[in-house]
């Protein structure tokens, strides 16, 4: 299997911040239509794709949403005030270009500040580059969202793009579905909504499906920089099997299942202990009477910025591992 740049470019370019996942949902539906037994969209907007079987019910989850900004106030001069949707820090976005669903853009500017370290969201605004009151009034409304403007770029072995978190997880599930192995297992591919604001979609999806086991597929941090996070995950060192994050301690059976499969099938893997953050596996493992759950993570640098970096070979290892779980 090769890495499919075109598919990942489309997924990354697609505008879909939390709560506004309609574009990415359409894109994924079009991509997987011929491969699924059932396709459902639930009340919150989760896309639930099923490959039927009589065996174990397995849930895989990757989230469709990306972080962004929501407009809270539009003034007459064309300055837009905003609040963050998901984990965006005021300190890191000054000067960045943002883009709306309609293709219009703005740049993040700040009021005069003495200490850049103390910058907060309410000192920032978007300048949408127009002196026309009508243009501003007709095109921007309180409640609109925007996301980083960022172009997909790749080298031989790595990719820089926005929203690798978690479009690369979506990519992995799409590829796994297209290569769905023959199995008795009843497999649900969940493309979830609103992960970035607290894994909300996964909670309701897990309730509906009531699975026997669940695996989230999402990005994780790396410990690659000298003075960065002390963490044993490295870019290019294979699929990361989650041991623990803030919201889950991986069920020992799941950890063993993933590790044994990786060893047996010669899949490059590493263990991940993430100090901060969590994934859809958090709410899923607490659903109903509890669900043995874990996560397969894609090592990623610069998470929650306009340029997230991952390795193509890690992605391929993750796909292999997902397919082996489906077979098991």
């Amino acid at each position: 299997m090769n890495y499919n740049s075109e598919l990942m470019r489309k997924l990354s370019d697609c505008f879909s911040p939390s709560g506004r996942e309609n574009n990415i949902r359409e894109l994924i539906i079009n991509e997987i239509k011929g491969y699924a037994d059932e396709i459902n969209v639930d009340a919150l907007g989760n896309l639930i794709v099923r490959k039927k079987g009589n065996g174990k019910k397995i849930l895989f989850s990757a989230h469709m949403d990306q972080i962004g900004l929501i407009i809270t106030h539009v003034d007459e001069k064309g300055f837009l005030r905003f609040s963050n949707v998901g984990g965006i820090s005021a300190k890191e976005i000054l000067g960045l270009r943002m883009i709306f669903d309609n293709g219009l853009e703005g740049v993040v500017c700040s009021e005069e500040i003495k200490d850049k370290e103390k910058i907060t969201m309410n000192k920032l605004f978007l300048d949408v580059a127009s002196t026309s009151k009508d243009f501003v009034k007709n095109n921007f409304k309180t409640g609109d969202m925007c996301v980083f403007k960022s172009e997909y770029y790749e080298t031989d072995d790595c990719v820089i793009c926005r929203a690798a978190d978690d479009r690369i997880g979506c990519y992995i599930l799409i590829e796994a579905l297209k290569n769905h192995p023959s199995t008795d297992n009843d497999v649900y591919y969940v493309f979830s909504v609103q992960e970035e604001v607290g894994c909300r979609g996964a909670k309701t999806a897990a309730y509906q499906i009531n699975p026997d086991l669940a695996i989230a597929v999402d990005v994780t941090d790396t410990g690659d920089t000298d003075n960065g996070t002390k963490m044993d995950v490295k870019l290019g060192e294979g699929a990361a099997i989650k041991i623990m994050d803030k919201y889950i301690i991986t069920h020992p059976e799941i950890k063993n299942l993933l590790t044994d499969l990786a060893i047996e099938k010669n899949i490059k893997y590493q263990y991940e202990v993430l100090e901060h953050g969590g994934t859809d596996a958090g709410p899923i493992h607490l659903s109903r009477e509890g669900v043995p759950s874990g996560a397969i993570s894609i090592p990623t640098r610069n998470i929650h910025t306009s340029g997230e970096i991952f390795s193509k070979s890690d992605v391929l290892e993750c796909i292999k591992l997902v397919i082996e779980v489906i077979k098991k």
Partner: protein, 337 residues
């Protein structure tokens, strides 16, 4: 409108019985079917034309205090219940427990405070309630550990259309919901008066689980920030500018299509409205939309100045806009395709 009666009742989270009893009596008068669930939520059913299952929620509880210790001189120490505005506690008149014992919140006199102390608000552990006794045993005859403490604050009308009261968050919602239930609309909905919102929306969680609604409307009292020193873009809501429709808060991303639909209904019917310009705070919508397999929810609120203090200020016109808008949203959702 039941604002005067409702705001003068005591109902700190976990201790909502006065409010619940009042609401139960009103529902009997209206002739509306209801039951009370295990956590104390009142669940009323307005029967009518039905297209989907609708839940309309307002919380009965308010922020307040709870007695935690009685000291040797008979002074009462307390803890906060819910996100109370601690800056304003000092020198407030309160009532304690079922017997409504009067007390005042006191602290060291300003004369005895050192320079820096005078600049800061007094932390809760430096405050106490004085009920006019002078020994532990005397206080213990009147007050028990665990008694709830409520602000004493009358309902007052002033200005053009303003009211001042305590607990408008969320007796405004309760009053609006009672009005909606008394209209006998030919549109099916469950009116849920929830408990324990201020300590984490706990009642709404179990109520939504048992009702499993398709669509919900949360009626709230929400933050108004229309004070002189606040810039336009930071004014979350302003009183007098109509019903506040939520876009996002810390617990919910409101479905944008539903929000725009509510806006459209407001515009078409000339109901003043504003969009809530903040992503902070949270309400019963959070647990409701995430319950079971999930559902859609909107929040329509009465803007309240000085929220979570003993003196909330709101506009009667805004309140009426909330009632009218909620009514039309219910009717619109049940009108059928």
């Amino acid at each position: 409108m039941f604002l005067k009666e409702l705001t003068e009742l005591s109902g700190v989270s976990g201790n909502e019985y006065e409010v619940r009893n009042y609401i139960k009596n009103k529902l009997k008068e209206i002739g509306c079917e209801f039951y009370v669930d295990k956590l104390g939520n009142v669940i009323a059913h307005n029967k009518g034309k039905k297209n989907k299952k609708i839940m309309v929620a307002a919380h009965m509880d308010e922020v307040g205090l709870i007695v935690s210790h009685i000291d040797s001189d008979g002074f009462i120490k307390f803890q906060a219940v819910g996100g109370i505005d601690q800056r304003v506690l000092n020198s407030k008149v309160v009532t304690i427990g079922e017997n409504k014992i009067n007390g005042v919140i006191g602290s060291k006199a300003v004369h005895l405070m050192k320079g820096e102390e005078r600049e800061k608000s007094i932390p809760i552990d430096k405050l106490y309630i004085d009920i006019g006794t002078d020994s532990k045993s005397e206080t213990e005859k009147l007050v028990n550990i665990g008694d709830y403490v409520t602000f004493k604050s009358d309902y007052v009308e002033f200005g053009e259309d303003l009211i001042k009261a305590k607990a408008l968050d969320d007796r405004a919602g309760c009053s609006a919901l009672l009005e909606l239930l008394s209209m006998k609309l030919d549109a099916d909905f469950y009116g849920v008066f929830t408990v324990m919102e201020e300590v984490g929306c706990r009642g709404a969680q179990t109520a939504a689980y048992s009702l499993d609604p398709d669509f919900s409307i949360v009626l709230e009292g929400t933050v108004s920030a229309d004070m002189p020193e606040i810039k336009d873009h930071s004014k979350v809501t302003s009183i007098g500018k109509g019903a506040a429709i939520s876009l996002m808060d810390s617990s919910t991303l409101y479905d944008i299509n539903e929000v725009r639909k509510v806006e459209r209904i407001a515009v078409e019917n000339n109901i003043p409205y504003q969009l809530r310009k903040s992503s902070a705070g949270g309400n019963d919508a959070g647990p409701i939309h995430k319950t079971k397999d999930g559902s859609k929810v909107v929040a329509i609120s009465v803007p309240c100045r000085y929220i979570h203090s003993s003196v909330n200020v709101a506009s009667i016109n805004d309140y009426n806009s909330v009632v009218q808008l909620a009514k039309l949203v219910i009717l619109d959702n049940q009108k059928g395709e």
